[in-house]
Symmetry: C2
Subunit: 453 residues, 2 copies
């Protein structure tokens, strides 16, 4: 049991780890360090501060300084851990008011990730933003009224959510995506296409399969030079604000400095106890790798759900407990212009990469019975291991109830069910809610026929 | 393999059984009999024809005569099976155009249920209705404009949905419930109370723990005399229309006539193949019993989901297949004045009756993260077997996303998960959808503490 626990990083992972350590162990001395001047806040909520769906920046802050003192956790904000000597188990830190050393018995890395700047010229101009921190959001919020032409580079979750927010504020928004489709980390191309059509119908411009080359203008952006990756054709689109959302990289330098191993997805290697390769040193959240649930391949979750679940395990174990993280299924959802987009487990691309042979059940259905007014179309795909029939993934897109439906697929993956089991699922039914055979059950039937189970 | 299959009843169960038999066996001669003049229609959709959420009665009809002939199924509508001689395997029927005899090799009872008239005086008056058949709904629809004071006797699903419909049409509606709360077949008292408050806030009158004694008036209702079951006090409430929705009883006379056993819930006894105690004779839907999933107690499902699932098994097996019905979890949902009400598995009352010792996880949470505008309160209860920790039931009430959430609990029950497993569930997360820890996961944590697992 660790008497002195140091947590580096105070995002969803760090804060959760510290609190769970405290809940498990009332006596431990717990210190948490945060480079940012804020205590734990919701990073995923940042895009919604632009549109006003989150009313106040303060609302995003989930734990304030009083909470920390109440829990008897020493929270050192705006404080950087500069050096760790793990042989003597002492770290050095520098803050605005205080610098010093801290002895620890257990260390938890929750250092998160940072925007990975892409090779684009002109990123150093004013009014070119990332959207990773609360300060990023505050800076952006000041621009909202002035924004006429917004170019978002990157059509992942942060990119599309930010694009939606600026569009709702009245700006003309263009998303520039390097790959042939947006959201390919969670959707197959055919599903992404449905979302793209929906976004374009709502007035967002999409430029796919296209590299952003350069942000033009002198001090501030005038435009973005883009190059179609197929035709090689170059053009310039007008921009007075540019958002760069091309992905993140785990922050691992401190962990590496004491010998923590880094894995294939560039995160800190951990086991199911969230322990790194070094005794008494844990890692969790966006800086850490975990096992993908089905194939056990190592990857960084990059999700709030995974961060808090890994952090709970890391925190309790650092404090003397024995918890296990069950692996990353990777359920991802969002809502864009009223459309719910949901994915879990393996996409087709991931399955190919991990060499998992797939059978698919693909269905276009309705969220409610056809006779009841107001049901919406829903496209459902469920994926199964071609040899075992086991459920390995699912994707759904609809104007309602796609996200909550994906939860069933996630639980099914976690409990190793197959297509026959999902077909036997007794979905809830009422005219105002869902038909007697939920479209996801029908998708399982389609797959059963292919799998012959 | 049966060459000649006779299906008696053409509701959700009968129609599904006939179609599934046909899909499985292209050569069988299949005949389906229906007392009603209509082909299969959605019974659960009937209340919504009153409010117009179902626009046209025809919309409810799911299979028309062309469908039957296309599938080469002989559908005899408005035709009663009057007698069965199972020794010679011949049944007699009488229809409007045709009476005759039919030889069969396999028989499927899908005779459904009918309203069980309660001991109330004056049920024979005009403008006193049940709401079980399409003709009931058509008769009621003619009354909507005239209805000023509607009294609904019975606060089960049909009662409350009909009450909502009349209220939305502008009538003054009172529900008279014999038990201390409405919806007690699916909810605990505390959950029912939330729904009651919501209905009352929307202007529906509720009279609980009260027996309807007599419908007054000469030819048509003038009022309903009610008696408080606690105080014994009698009073009269005005009524120009009375709806009786006090429950149903399985229709089993024909099945009994050939020796089918009747079980404790008054339905036809079946095994997991949907076979009755007589060879080649199956039963499914509201007339049939099935095994409650957890305790294996026998009960009638009374649900469209159960009817079609049992019917699929009965139809395929009658046609020579070998399917198994996995048991009745009993997921029940509805939506009243925008509130979603959801239940699955055992309620407290059912658990007591079946002598299942319970531990509960009970949580008041939010459907979305607190910082995101528009999330709704949600009350979640999840139930576990006190000794094994296994999930055995759940109830949720909220202005959004209660029904789809209950699906996760149902799948969990079907796959034998415990409180620790539900706590490990990786729910989907996005500010616009749900927080990092879904309230149902939090409820599992609360239960884990009690269960010490």
């Amino acid at each position: 049991m660790a008497d002195r626990i140091a947590v580096i990083g105070c995002g969803a992972a760090g804060a959760t780890a510290a609190m769970q350590a405290r809940k498990f162990n009332r006596k431990a001395e717990i210190t948490i360090f945060n480079i940012e001047p804020y205590s734990q806040y919701s990073r995923c909520g940042l895009p919604y501060t632009i549109s006003g769906k989150v009313e106040d920046f303060e609302d995003l802050i989930l734990t304030d300084e009083d909470n920390w003192s109440m829990m008897k956790i020493d929270a050192k904000l705006q404080t950087t851990v500069t050096e760790i000597n793990h042989d003597s188990m002492i770290l050095k830190y520098e803050g605005p008011d205080e610098s010093g050393e801290l002895e620890y018995d257990a260390l938890i890395f929750a250092t998160g990730a940072e925007n990975a700047d892409p090779p684009i010229k002109g990123l150093d101009k004013k009014r070119v933003y990332g959207l990773r921190t609360l300060n990023d959001a505050k800076a952006l919020a000041k621009e909202v009224d002035k924004a006429k032409n917004v170019v978002v580079i990157g059509g992942g979750l942060v990119g599309v959510e930010t694009a939606e927010a600026f569009h709702e504020c009245g700006a003309d928004v263009t998303i520039v995506e390097f790959l042939p489709h947006i959201l390919l980390a969670m959707l197959d191309s055919d599903m992404a296409k449905i979302v793209e059509d929906h976004c374009q119908e709502h007035g967002v411009n999409l430029v796919l399969n296209t590299a952003a080359q350069e942000i033009t203008g002198s001090d501030e952006p005038k435009g973005v030079i883009i190059k179609n990756r197929e035709s090689g054709e170059e053009s310039e689109i007008p921009a007075d604000i540019v958002i760069v959302a091309t992905g993140v990289r785990p922050i691992t330098e401190l962990a590496e400095s004491i010998g923590c191993k880094i894995g294939p997805s560039r995160g800190i290697v951990t086991d199911e106890k969230m322990l790194t390769n070094i005794a008494n040193v844990y890692a969790c959240g966006d800086c850490a790798e975990g096992a993908e649930f089905i194939t056990k391949n190592r990857l960084t979750g990059g999700l709030g759900t995974i961060a808090v679940r890994q952090a709970r395990v890391a925190g309790i174990n650092a404090a003397g407990g024995d918890e296990t993280f069950p692996g990353i299924v990777g359920a991802k959802v969002t809502k864009l212009f009223g459309m719910e987009i949901a994915s879990t487990g393996l996409t087709k691309d991931m399955a190919d990469k991990y060499e998992v042979p797939l059978a698919v059940g693909s269905i276009k259905g309705l969220t409610k019975p056809p006779y009841y007014k107001g049901g919406k179309e829903i496209k459902v795909k469920t994926y199964y291991h071609k040899e075992t029939g086991k459920l390995v993934g699912g994707q759904m897109v609809s104007l309602e109830d796609a996200a909550m439906r994906i939860n069933v697929v996630t639980l099914g993956i976690q409990h190793n069910i197959d297509a026959a089991d999902l077909f036997d699922f007794e979905n809830c039914y009422a005219p105002a809610i869902c038909d007697t055979w939920d479209p996801m059950v029908t998708s399982a039937l389609a797959a059963r026929r292919r799998l012959k189970i």
